[in-house]
Amino acid sequence: MIRAKRKTGLVFFPAFDWAISPTHPEREERLLYTQDQVMEEGLLDVPGIREYRVRPAKYSDLQRVHFCVPDEESMATESHLISAGGCLVAADAVMKKEVESAFALVRPPGHHAMRVVHGNRGFCNINIEAVMIEYIRDVYGVKKVAIVDTDCHHGDGTQDIYWHDPNTLFISMHQDGRTLYPGSGFAEENGGANALGTTINIPLPPRTGEDGFLYALDELVMPLLEKFQPDLIINSAGQDNHFDDPITHMNFSARGYAELNARLKPDLAVLEGGYSVEKALPYVNVGIIMAMAGMDTSTVKEPGYDKHYAPQAPDITNYIQNLMVNLKSQFLTNPPKPHPAKNGEIITTSKKIFYDTDMINENQDERLVRCRDCAGTLAIDSHSSKGNKMMGIHVPKDACPMCQKMAEKWVNEALDDKKFHFVFLQDRTKCTYEVLR
């Protein structure tokens, strides 16, 4: 009898009773065939693979990460809470050392959800990885975390949440933003003033194949991880780079995903996108589970592989080789220089965010304390086309006295300013979240 070489936890939650809308890619049917394939392969009987029951996350779990406007209840449905909760179950299994690694095969996904949530973006409301990571930090005291996002779409939500956090390395490999939603994720996006170089984007050209993904992994991702020395590696395991995916243009495969996972060896993997529900997901997921369990995946192949998978074209190989030369130079040999602003200086930025699923426009004005001792207090002034005006103040986990003082000042200013309908204080030093107005 085969057994898992690495003890692996599996949290499976297909949400067979939830959809964004009946014909939406995020619908009841999405993980149906994956469930069929996993069951038929008998993966859950393999000694060393253990399935866990999901539990819903609490609103307080979301409050470690998000400013939900107007509140958590209206932004997170039961399905979002269970999907996030599934990640927490996976995290507990790994952190309590019941298993060596765990895969949260849950939906709906989360990597397009940013710190401020006014609605659904890119099928996501709640950033389930971030909810998991901040839970791990609070409950288990883990500091340095690396996220490798292998979804075809840029993980802009996760990037937004960890933009200023030097203790979280965020690497996203995705289809070039010039050719796909959400249109971001370029190499120049490399982190906020206090965390330069801990956000890394690898925009791959359409038609990138098995060779290209694995090349980028070996050449750049693995050395970056080696340099960062994280306590935990998390894979945002989107599966829409598959050659059969209906909404993307990449050329990856089940065995490619399995191989990538085997090399990356994440402690935790979380399902993100992937919408070839019948021809890709069942095989990709089987491949990932087997790879996490340390089993030989050379016999995993989608039935359409021989007919429909074309090896990566030479022009794509050239492009990716050049891209890697540039990115290696930017992040490994000549890492970004410290931000020129003085310690304690306030850096302001503005941005516009579009919620494609819910058709909401949001304007954000952000203030950050430039700080050499911590991630810096952050104040987000946000108003949405729904009319909600919010001030959210985020005090980072390791906030220095100066930044804590600044947070107090900004809170008082916000409370004096009658234009805000909502004022929230997310104090990660005390693990508290206060609705001040």
Binding site: F12, F13, T23, Y33, Q35, G42, R53, V54, V300, P303
Partner: protein, 557 residues
Amino acid sequence: MILGLDVGGTQTDAVVLENGKVRAHSKTVNRPELLETLGLSLDKTLAGIDPGKIQRMVFSTTMATNAVVMDKMDPAGMIISAGPGMNPEWFRVGPSYHVVEGCMDHRGTEVMAIDKGQVMEAARAMEKQGIKACGIVCKFSVRNPHQELQAEGWLKDQFVYKALGHRFSGSLNFPRRIATAYLNAALHSLHNKFITSLETTLSERGLDAPRYLMKPDGGTVRLDRSCEFPAQTAQSGPAASVMGALALDGCKGISLVLDIGGTTTDMALVLDGLPLWVPNGIRLGEYRTSIRSLLTWSVGIGGDSEVKVNDGKNLSIGPIRQGEAMAFGGPMPTPTDAMITLGLMEEGDKDLARKAMESVGAQLSMDAEAVAKKILDETTKAMTKAVMAFVRGINSRPVYTIHEVLEGFKVDPDRIVVLGAPAPIVAPMLEKAFGIPCKVPPHYQVANAVGAAAAKVTAEITLQADTQRGTLVIPEVGLEMAIPRDFTMAMALEKAKEALFDRGQAVGAEHDNREFAVIEKEEFNMIRGGYRVGKNIRLKLALVPGLIPDCNCGGEL
């Protein structure tokens, strides 16, 4: 009158029921030969009873279990079509295992035909090895049995018996399908021999009424139909006990059933008269199968468990049984000796029991009574711990819908039914430990045999309808049919019920046995390119375990 007989690990229990009352019962110590044991038990139980008055007989035997566990099965060959996925070599079983080309996907669409040349070559290799029975198993054959049927057709003049994977269970699990088909093939001729001998044994005694075998799912199957699925009669003992509890007690509310034997205590849960099933299938020796079974759990604590003192201070109870209690001439002190020493039990040699307790007491500087009390305390504690783990295991089973997560139904037993010889002694201790009522029904010593006598025929079918492909499949009955695009769940339910009742009657169910449960019911819209292209309907229906009308007296048999 109805005869029920359950062969256990060390002894065989039998009862005769008449008008809902136990007319006769017996216990027989097992002989090395199963048929000899059965003959002895029959003679003992039926003494003074007219065999012509017996209208129904049910046997729960250990034939299949022992053959599997002791590896006394016949050689059986396997022909496997797997396609991509887990390496099929990992599931190799038996002396002649052949993987052939062929592939079916999860929808039941044939991706690659099964290779006839390789199938014929595998069959030739098996014949050379003198193999007379084989299993034919394809991945996803429960979604489309075509390849298994094709291979069977090619081999129509070969092999005494061919076990087709899709016939044993409609559930998805390829490795379990392989193991189940293998066991059925490897048990086939043994089982046939056994039932022929059993029929002779019965006829010799003038017992000509319909005969049934007990199954681990709490149901029965007619003896002559059991040769199609010999492995499904394995490990039926724990289920017989649960059905006994149902007949003798009714098991209202959330009942935990504990059957305390010599070697082990078996536990099960019954929710308002309906026992819980295992989700996938029973484990037989090293084989994980898809054979449907009641959810029972066995822990190595019984009346004859070995009592030891470790490190000069810690008492341990079980999991080994070295033999009978010392009071009955056994080699080691046991909880039974403790009960006798405390005067809780009449039987057995009191002096030997006391000596057993003194030997344990000496190691702990305690007198015989004090140590006997401590042993019973520890036994209760160990059982309590095992029960807690059993219930926790049930409550941590994964669920796949928001509804189920939020409903968060947790099993929390509100009463205990205790069976087995020490039941009246142990029950008050368990009642104290759990703080819930602990009942000992009448005839608790032979509840297993009562359960066998009273159990109805069970059957199960799985339906999958795919309106885009235009197919409906019920693998267990070998049904494949075309359906229109507007086929609905209501139509599927009708078809499933019809197939279930037919199936039930084929394996011996009475005409009025129509109490069924919908175990799974799912319906998905299949969307491609933003449009609905069809529906995917899934149903699993079962004739649930229950009591035949004669024995259904609201638990007051």
